[in-house]
């Protein structure tokens, strides 16, 4: 089992009445609410939290990309990954990821990921998201009808950039470059493992199977809501004749651990409420620009009950559709609902380990991306949560699948003895 420490880097100081007074946390979020002096401290705390996760033995630390978003302050995850590549030494660095169609030329992704792979000594996991509608179509103005065509062309260009050994010319529909010749090249050969974060689109599942990438379902609604999507994924893998190796799937889960269940409920109520009630206030009008969801996915949804169920929780985007669902469903969830429905796994170490074991086995994923800082959770509580998880939960779940399956999609770094050794104390 790979245990991966995921950070969203949320702005932690949205006003209490944010949900009543503001329409959306994303795209047209009120920029007057942003205080750069507070953000200075938030960024430093978040980086420290990721470094701490490495120190206490998480297998990976994860950053991601969002734009015009008050729950995700990483327009450029590569900047964060860069500093983490220096300050950490063991954990894989998972950039989840770069929205390929937003980079012009897309070879920029090939270059920066190659830099990160060199700098980290081959610890990079390269995430290639299409990106949410909010990030790509609204904040970055990409045409929703062209987004996936541009994404796939960018992917092909990046792969050729990483694997061809001579300079080449690229004559694509959307990109033309006379000289493609990356310098640096990635350290991992032929390239870092590629992971694809996605919602419940059947095409994404098929494509992941086709090119042998990891599929990461990044839902904010937990393992109970995620069952339909993951079941759909594994059914599709079976249809395609792929072995059910759990390491080809990753799943995101919010977790809060304390000595006792009551203590956990008391400690994590506020940050969970902050996240689900303020951070996830996404206006439904941004969730489904025409063309973002392909006609093929629409048709598949209409025909497949499993995919239809999955669509209810994933939609065009895990966050957006979920938010739209909350909007349409009579207001935000109560903390009790969040716990009951498994959005957040809360409890004593044994309770959390038991629920996660159930989730891991039911949904059948070998890479658990765990969110231990969320909402307005301060650094001391985030550190406590991280330590409790690392010390008391991790030993109970880290062995799952280890003897049964081989992980073919994990970074292969340089031997530690061969890496740069300057004093990092």
């Amino acid at each position: 089992m790979k245990l991966m420490y995921f950070h969203l880097m949320p702005y932690m100081d949205l006003p209490e009445d944010f949900a009543e007074k503001h329409e959306s946390v994303w795209v047209d979020v009120d920029s007057k609410l942003f205080d750069p002096r507070k953000a200075h401290h938030m960024y430093h705390d978040f980086i420290s939290e990721l470094e701490h996760a490495d120190a206490v033995g998480f297998d990976a630390i994860c950053v991601n990309e969002h734009h015009s978003n008050a729950y995700g302050m990483m327009p450029s995850p590569n900047l964060l990954a860069s500093t983490l590549a220096r300050s950490t030494k063991d954990a894989a660095i998972c950039v989840m990821g770069n929205s390929l169609a937003l980079y012009n030329p897309p070879t920029r992704v090939a270059e920066e990921f190659a830099m990160l792979d060199c700098l980290s000594g081959g610890r990079l996991i390269a995430g290639f998201p299409v990106g949410t509608p909010m990030d790509t179509c609204y904040a970055y103005g990409q045409n929703p009808s062209q987004l996936r065509q541009r994404y796939h062309e960018a992917h092909d260009l990046i792969m050729r950039t990483w694997t061809e050994t001579e300079p080449f010319a690229f004559n694509g529909r959307f990109n033309q470059q006379r000289y493609v010749n990356p310098w640096p090249r990635p350290l991992q050969a032929p390239h870092p493992p590629v992971w694809i974060p996605g919602g419940g689109a059947v095409e994404t599942w098929r494509w992941c199977a086709d090119v042998d990438y990891v599929y990461a379902y990044l839902s904010y609604y937990g393992y109970l809501a995620g069952q339909a999507t993951m079941r759909g994924f594994w059914e599709e893998m079976e249809n395609l004749g792929k072995e059910p190796n759990p390491f080809r799937a990753a799943f995101l889960q919010f977790v809060g651990v304390a000595e006792t269940e009551q203590e956990a409920l008391d400690l994590y109520r506020e940050p969970a409420e902050y996240f689900y009630n303020r951070s996830l206030k996404v206006s439904p009008k941004y969730v489904a620009p025409p063309g973002y969801m392909t006609e093929a996915t629409l048709r598949a949804r209409a025909q497949s009950q499993v995919a239809k169920l999955a669509g209810q929780t994933s939609g065009a985007d895990a966050a957006g559709a979920g938010a739209a669902k909350i909007e349409g469903g009579g207001g935000p969830p109560s903390f009790e609902e969040m716990v009951e429905k498994g959005f957040v796994v809360i409890g004593s170490p044994d309770q959390v380990a038991e629920k996660l074991t159930t989730a891991i086995k039911d949904l059948h994923f070998g890479n658990l991306m765990v969110l231990l800082q969320y909402g307005n959770m301060k650094r001391d509580l985030a550190t406590y949560n991280t330590d409790m998880f690392a010390k008391h939960v991790r030993p109970q779940i880290e062995g799952i699948f280890e003897d049964e399956w081989e992980h073919h999609w994990w970074p292969k770094p340089m031997p530690v003895a061969e890496r740069a050794t300057e004093d990092r104390s």
Binding site: N143, P290, A302
Partner: protein, 268 residues
């Protein structure tokens, strides 16, 4: 090309553009008068078309990806692709050199066709065309709206939208119609995203045709003041007609009033 004619005398044929099928409606006799539809396409033969067909041979082609056409918009990448596809469509539909009406995004396509290929079209009537975006009077984001809001933005008259955009008469599969409608919105987004400015302002001076600009006074998508900007840029003689109680889809909202200004204009 396959033809059929229904009991109302409406001829339905199919032409091939970019290897894909596009429906062409035709009714009436005499001089040809073309109509390029806008947002949503025109899934139903409308009262306005009937009224015009008493005086003209009215020809209404479906634009790529819109109701009545294959999803050929997916092979269209930039503005010149759109212009070429529409020029092909105009030729295939027998509209070369004909007087033409273009509504909404059909209006900006028609204006750009006239700028690129003046001999392909005759006199123009543009009903609230897209194509310009002025910082002083920005357009609202039509796409970032939930569906009930979009309906309100498009039409002023209560019920007008539902009349014009109900499932076509020959459709009995609601799920399929929902998908085709979605496809049409995707095609519109492919051409317009984010707000329809494809540099037309730089080419307006190449439009030497006489041009009628028709605008709903209650247009909530493109303010009627944009009519003046088009009139100032177009080299040909221009005339502006504002329609009472009409929104962006003025031809759907107030077909009688729009018919009147169109007939007066084209009959001159």
């Amino acid at each position: 090309m396959s033809d059929s004619t229904n009991s109302n005398g409406l001829k339905i044929s199919t032409v091939i553009v970019n290897g894909a099928e596009h429906r062409v409606w035709e009714k009436g006799s005499g001089k040809a008068l073309g109509f390029l539809p806008g947002l949503g396409g025109r899934p139903r033969w409308l009262p306005l078309f009937d009224a015009l067909s008493e005086h003209y041979r009215v020809i209404v082609p479906s634009l790529p990806g819109f109701p009545g056409a294959d999803p050929s918009h997916l092979s269209i990448d930039d503005n010149s692709d759109w212009i070429c596809a529409c020029l092909d469509l105009i030729e295939e539909a027998g509209l070369t050199g004909a007087d033409m009406i273009g509504a909404c995004l059909g209006g900006s396509l028609l204006a750009d066709i006239a700028a690129h290929s003046p001999k392909s079209v005759g006199r123009l009537a543009l009903i609230a065309p897209f194509g310009l975006y002025r910082n002083a009077e920005p357009l609202p984001d039509f796409f970032a709206q939930i569906f009930p809001e979009q309906k309100k933005l498009l039409c002023h008259r209560e019920g007008a939208f539902d009349e014009a955009f109900a499932a076509p008469e020959d459709s009995n599969d609601k799920e399929e119609w929902d998908i085709l409608r979605y496809r049409g919105m995707e095609a519109a987004a492919r051409y317009l995203w984010p707000f329809g400015d494809r540099g037309l302002e730089k080419r307006l001076h190449r439009i030497t045709q006489d041009t009628l600009l028709v605008w709903g006074k209650e247009d909530r998508i493109i303010p009627p003041s944009y009519a003046q900007a088009f009139a100032e840029g177009i080299a040909g003689t221009t005339q502006i007609e504002l329609i009472d109680k009409a929104g962006h889809l003025a031809d759907v909202d107030q077909p009688d009033a729009v018919e009147k200004v169109l007939l007066e204009y084209f009959n001159v």
